[in-house]
């Protein structure tokens, strides 16, 4: 469905060349649900915009839904659906009108477009809103309308750029219910970008982690986390016990790190089967005379995957950008 080779995009800003995407190779098979995960500015959206013909390539090649983005952009456009980061529906237009015009933009006749619009309005719970102006819709309603716009011409491949950014958890869950149901019904290939870890973790069958314009990991979320081998364990101790405690942690775990904490010093480590390991560990620390004031164990998340790959937390990047 998607094949790219050395896909590259540079931007020139104030005589400085920014390498937004640096030679990415991607292969996506029909029916896959793939998420591009990465911090803001990693190159996710730039990649998506090249694949959807919205942005010219600096170099490399991409074949999307059987058409080459450089040689046959119109062919790509007619076979893909695209739900962008911003509102796809024009604010001054009426809900149903926008869907019908969208169908006509993809070469459907007015009758077919009207029938398809009504079908999507029903399946996306938008029927009561058909005559409303888009600007009067709530954020969640607008996003469902954007999804309907992307699906008007029944594309075999749908791109979603940050589909649920800015939505509350309830609306996000609702949007995903719709996306997954439509996918189950039509077998649509889905490619999305997200900087939400839990979204990539819960929804995507395959996660491509992008950082600084390159793909640094490509696997299922489960495998990515399993590769880290081990759970995350944390104990908070008095600063005077750091030496002793580090030695004990290093015996059964790895990646021992320390960080200042409100209660003293927080030591973290990766340990196999953390929930069983933690009581034994606490016992040994106690036997060595180390007073533990707090303890915690957590299963790895994609953030841990990102942290181990880059040494940075994805969460921090998101916070800074938000």
């Amino acid at each position: 469905m998607i094949h790219t080779r050395q896909l590259t995009r540079h931007f020139v800003s104030k005589k400085e060349t920014i390498e937004a995407v640096r030679g990415i190779d991607i292969d996506v098979d029909p029916g896959e649900l793939v998420a591009f995960l990465g911090p803001n500015g990693a190159g996710k959206s730039t990649t998506l915009r090249m694949l959807t013909t919205l942005l010219p390539l600096t170099s490399g090649s991409a074949v999307v839904a059987g058409a080459d983005v450089v040689d046959d952009p119109a062919g790509v456009r007619s076979r893909i659906g695209y739900v962008g980061q911003n509102n796809g529906a024009g604010h001054s237009f009426r809900v149903r009108d926008e869907l019908v015009f969208q169908g006509r933009f993809y070469g459907m006749n007015s009758t077919d477009a009207a029938a398809r619009a009504d079908e999507l309005l029903a399946s996306l719970d938008l029927v009561p809103l058909v005559k409303r102006r888009v600007s009067t819709l709530s954020g969640g309603q607008r996003r469902r309308l954007d999804l309907a716009l992307g699906l008007m011409h029944r594309p075999p491949l749908l791109f979603l750029d940050e589909p649920s950014t800015g939505m509350d958890p309830q609306n996000r869950a609702n949007l995903w219910d719709h996306i997954l149901r439509l996918r189950a019904e039509h077998g649509t290939t889905l490619v999305l970008t997200t900087h939400y870890l839990d979204e990539a973790d819960a929804q995507a069958e395959r996660v491509l982690i992008i950082d600084h314009g390159t793909i640094i990991a490509d696997n299922t979320a489960g495998n990515l986390k399993a590769e880290l081998a081990g759970d995350h364990i944390m104990v908070t101790i008095d600063p005077s016990d750091v030496q002793t405690a580090r030695a004990i942690l290093a015996e059964s775990g790895r990646d021992v790190r320390e960080a200042p904490s409100r209660l003293g010093v927080a030591l973290t480590a990766r340990i196999e089967q953390g929930q069983q390991a933690l009581p034994r560990l606490l016992h040994r620390l106690d036997a060595a005379g180390v007073l533990v004031s707090a303890a915690d164990v957590s299963v790895p998340t994609l953030d841990d995957v990102f942290l181990s790959l880059t040494g940075r937390s994805l969460r921090e990047d998101v916070e800074v950008a938000a």
Partner: protein
């Protein structure tokens, strides 16, 4: 594969839905040129030597000028709507569809020209009882000429909107600072014959001058004026160059 005509019609229909779903907006745009005609017309008749106007009713001279003016105002601001859609994201959605890039520009310009047909007809009809003579075939030819010119102006305006998408104030700054020199130096509102020599020379470099002259010739019932072929040329060049620049801008508009 859709045709250029079908694509243009789709874009045009979408834009027109804004007017058709809210016809009230059209009422204001119709009244505006009438007010202009009623307030400016008598002033012009009183302050300009009738010989300069060719001896006929001042309306015969003034009505085509007003029609060119509303065409210029309407199409030169076309980009403002595009700018709004660019800032929201719906324009990007349209770009992701297989619709022809030239159709986006032509369809949008035609939408600005559609109310013009209603406005121009109304002004013309209202002016008849006050001594204006209507030559329907010539007027229709004049409307077609303006249509070609207007598509080009609309394309320029949309190109300007795309160029200023990251600094929206720039659109209005450029549009306003070009609009009034073009307008005044075309003799649209006041005859340039009454002005200094340098203005008359400058007007010869303004494509709009030829359009205005030709519209006046047509509205006074003659095709045999040297301004007519020149105006056709000026309109075609404006249209071709406008679309060429416009399509190039559209291709760059998502970078």
């Amino acid at each position: 594969m859709t045709s250029l005509v079908a694509d243009t019609r789709s874009v045009f229909s979408r834009e027109m839905s804004l007017i058709l779903r809210d016809p009230f907006s059209l009422i204001f745009s119709i009244v505006q040129p009438l007010v202009f005609l009623a307030l400016f017309g008598p002033l012009l008749a009183g302050s300009v030597d009738p010989a300069v106007l060719g001896g006929a009713s001042p309306l015969q001279w003034f009505v085509p000028g007003v029609i060119v003016m509303i065409c210029l105002f309407g199409t030169s601001t076309a980009g403002a709507n595009l700018l709004f859609e660019i800032s929201l994201g719906s324009y990007e959605r349209v770009l992701a569809s297989p619709i022809r890039r030239s159709s986006i520009l032509i369809g949008r310009s035609l939408k600005e020209l559609a109310p013009l047909v209603v406005q121009a007809s109304l002004i013309t009809l209202v002016a008849i009882p006050f001594g204006f003579t209507l030559y329907p075939v010539h007027a229709l030819a004049g409307a077609l000429l303006l249509g070609v010119f207007g598509i080009g102006m609309g394309a320029f305006s949309n190109a300007l909107a795309i160029a200023s998408r990251k600094r929206e104030w720039m659109f209005w700054a450029v549009q306003q600072s070009l609009l009034f020199p073009l307008l005044i130096l075309s003799g649209m509102m006041l005859p340039l014959e009454a002005g200094p020599r340098w203005m008359q020379i400058a007007s010869r470099f303004n494509p709009l001058t030829y359009i205005v002259d030709a519209e006046r010739a047509l509205f006074s019932g003659t095709f045999a004026d040297r301004s007519v072929p020149l105006a056709i040329l000026a309109a075609l060049i404006t249209c071709a160059v406008g679309l060429w620049i416009g399509v190039r801008q559209v291709a760059r508009s998502t970078t």
